[in-house]
Amino acid sequence: MLDLITGNEAIAWGARLAQVDYVPIYPITPQTEIVEKLSEWAANGLIRARITKMESEHSMITAAGAAALAGARTFTATSSQGLLYAFEMLYNVSGWRAPFVLANVSRGLAAPLTLLPDHNDALAARDSGFLQFYAETCQEALDSVLIAYRVSESRKVMLPSMVNIDGFYLSFTREKVMIPDELGDFLPPYPIPAISAGNMPSMGPTVLDPSVYSYFKYQMHLAQISALDELKKAISDYEKDFGIKRALIDEYMADDADYVIVMTSSFATMARKAIKFIREKGIKVGLIRPWVLRPFPRDDLLSALAGKRGAAVFDQDISPGFGGALHAEIASSLYGAPDAPRIASFIGGLGGKEPTIEEFEFMIRELISPDLTRRGPVMLWTDRDQRILDKQRSIALRGGVVGR
């Protein structure tokens, strides 16, 4: 079925098609539409999931993880502050090896408070053990949820997944989405048996020795590495079953490109437009967009970057005191690689600040520039940005307390 739906609705459709048994919920902008949609479907008998209204994200993730261990296919969703409120439990549920799917609708973190997206929320959870998907389009949002269930529930993985979409830019944007009628064999039955009189496991117990702790922590890493193979199988089956092609690393005009922009998520759509524009000026530019950051697809990334002269990494996040988190990961992957491209780091799109074509062009010119020696990141900041700041301040000064 082809439909015009928002990113949030596409995510909800993912949960619906996966026939989830349980959805603990808690509202937060811009995620709320997802749980509203699921509640509406449940109220009308379109899904059989049990929906429980929790009192916080911390409890919501606890309930989700517990239910997943108790035998229920589970879905839940949050954003930003909510993800951080649940932070303690993210590490717990992945340590429990609870294979459920959490949608995170990205939104910049307070303070200052904002509603618009960047990726500091999801990237903060980078080391939690969750698999991490970063969708660019509404179609990819739906595909991510379905593939996430398949891979999370694989016996070789057994870890939760986080499917990330950008708040507002994707969550509330309608796009054409192909919604499969049913999943068929793509998603096997849920692998964990229900708790019963004959099945009373002990889960998440403490360990009393650092060796035991290290063993289990490293198991999670090995499971993530196994997930790379499982992802590739799932991608291949997904294309076979539904005719939709996904890739760990999405490439756009990258084949013959000398220089590439590396970035994730919905703002990559803006880069595509900029790439066409920059190419008209005679510079061969392309886009390399990792769709999955955990497990980190190092080999795929290296082969995508092979032969490129330079890579401009656009980070929609900032690690104060260092720079861009994505840049750090790309740079460390390239270290020691033969003929590694030069790499430049840019911070943009914070709190949803839309990058312009000129900003992308600036990135490429910086990258090409022979005196690219800057070690730290370059903040993308235009005259327009400065004017907006100055204008707001001047209005406040004119009419506000200072004026009296």
Partner: protein, 360 residues
Amino acid sequence: MAGDLSIKTIRETPLEEYLHPGSSMCPGCGAQVMIRLMLKVLGPKTFIVNAAGCMTLLQTYPYSNLKSGWLYTAFASAPAGAQGIRDALDSLISQGKARDEGIKILVLTGDGGAYDIGLQATSAAMDRDLDFYYLCYDNEAYGNTGFQQSGASPYGSSTTTSPIGRLNPVGTEKRKKNLFEIWKAHNPAYLATISPSHPLDLMQKVEEAARRKGPKMFIGYASCPTGMGFDPSLSIKVAQLAVDTGVWPLKKYVDGKVIHTMIPKFVPVEEYLRLQARFRHLFDENNPAAKEAIAKIKDEIRSYWKAQGIEAKARHHMVIADGSCCGSCFSSSFLWFSWGIPSGKGKPSSLHTNMEVAML
């Protein structure tokens, strides 16, 4: 209460054991006595959801001394873990994917988890009318981290974060938070206080609760040799005195009414306080605030019982509301398992198999 219950006297205590020796817990732990008794009544199909606290050490990989299922959650969210498990089972049962086997879910938290950090999650679980059991084992401080002041710490007790010093001769300066009333305001299906010194009262309350659907809430006096400071052999005696002095009222809240299941003898409170290192400063002749502090503690006991229409005056004979024996004479035998049994020898648990599947 005893009328239609199967446990009418201490002789009817179920013989089955679900909590076994072998944990690395402190000897003389009152909380374990209560858990052992509760599990005897709840039976084999009990799934425990645990919060961070002393009882976390009941399960240390790869050993288990419990027959029950177990999930360790986190400090604040054990009731949410219980919610997830209940919801999962209910969803699977309603879809015909699982059979209803009457699995009971028991949340374990200490007083830090119940009075403080987990109050919100507990409130919400009651608000959602979750069908579960909840035991707060209350040793009146953060026991597992070395006995720091919590919302449950009573006035005049010293803890490691309310220590006695030149400027603070009293210790904990606030009163104990009234968790019973906070929980009562949620109108749960069942609510009671219990003590390891009163096993019959405890088991009868659990049995009575088991007949109700919804939140079944228990606040248990967890006599704590390690934190409160007394010899492990005195654990039941201290718990008994907590009840007998009127410090720890044994009561239940059912169908909109609070019923005291034990009217204390009103033994002078000094007998209770004197046994515990955390109150030692109240008997120090050089402590200028000691007398006033004890008077204040007595006042609090008096005014509590006065509000119940009972004058706190020493009695010779114990009066029991339902006329049955309190069973405390039996209670010393309930301590056998927690005394210094070497750890690590328990039954291996059926640990969640997912823990190991990623082996390459």
